[in-house]
Symmetry: C2
Subunit: 174 residues, 2 copies
């Protein structure tokens, strides 16, 4: 029988498809009877995009941990504190062994802003129960994560509808 | 109100996450009340991977059009004929307007083998009803598709668990 073990997957790069690929893994894991859970580090806790509506119907917990942070945010200290609180909850979920797949969506942003120490994430991944898959997404994944991961894909933008003036479409981009 | 129109998205490249990202779009579209349908050009009609089990539960039609073609296939003529038959069904679905999102998974392989004429795909996409989103996946997307698409992402392999001797994991890779 093939060896069973949890994988660490990273979807990074500036192209489209990082969060979307993580959602696809959630769907596939459900089809195999696994228990997935999703944390989104940038999305607001009241976000209700297509993925939230669909996962709610499927009974998959999905939590926005952020305040919809953007470069126009007024209160960076508050954003940083939210990210740290969110990370504590996500780390507990990874370590608990109750979930077979934990998605840390857009986690690279609070990492790269210095709000969450990379060393804490490396420690949490390294000490997790053996069966737990973890998927991390976001641009510019820190090298420590790339080194630790089993599989890393860089999503490269070749072209994007937005650049041609096409607005984001419901059900496709959000 | 933002303009509503169907997009053509291409996920190509040699990295992981192409099919998975397409599945994520299916999930997101469901959350917005859209009607998605999936055609898989390589997978066998009796394939029952994680995505088939999950989409069946969600009532999303997913059809394997191939014979699990690999380079070891004995009967290339049969593979080619299956691809052409499958394309006729997929093209009809794209043109019907009954589906808001049609996924043509791994369609680049029969295109690049010359089994399906690229010009036919370009024609079908160009003449489709305006609201229909189409997602095409697979390595080495023909340039005609890249040119026609609204959004193109190249999935680049940075590293892959398989290269380190880790076998494919159920619920993650299939």
């Amino acid at each position: 029988m093939a060896e069973r073990r949890g994988l660490v997957l990273v979807y990074t790069g500036h192209g489209k498809g990082k969060t979307t690929a993580a959602l696809g893994l959630v769907l596939r894991s459900l089809g195999r009877g696994l228990r997935p859970r999703v944390f989104q580090f940038i999305k607001h806790e009241r976000a209700a995009y297509g993925e939230h509506r669909a996962l709610a119907k499927l009974g998959v917990p999905i939590e926005g941990l952020g305040d919809g942070f953007s470069w126009r945010s007024r209160d960076l200290e508050r954003s940083a504190e939210l990210a740290r609180e969110g990370w504590r909850r996500a780390a507990a979920a990874v370590g608990s062994g109750e979930w077979d797949l934990v998605v840390l969506d857009e986690v690279t942003y609070p990492l790269n802003f210095g709000w969450i120490p990379v060393a804490e994430v490396v420690e949490a991944l390294g000490s997790r129960p053996r069966h737990v898959h973890v998927v991390l997404t976001g641009r510019d994944a820190p090298w420590e994560l790339v080194e630790l991961a089993d599989t890393v894909t860089e999503m490269k933008k070749v072209k994007h509808a937005y650049d041609a003036g096409v607005p984001a479409q419901k059900g496709m981009e959000h």
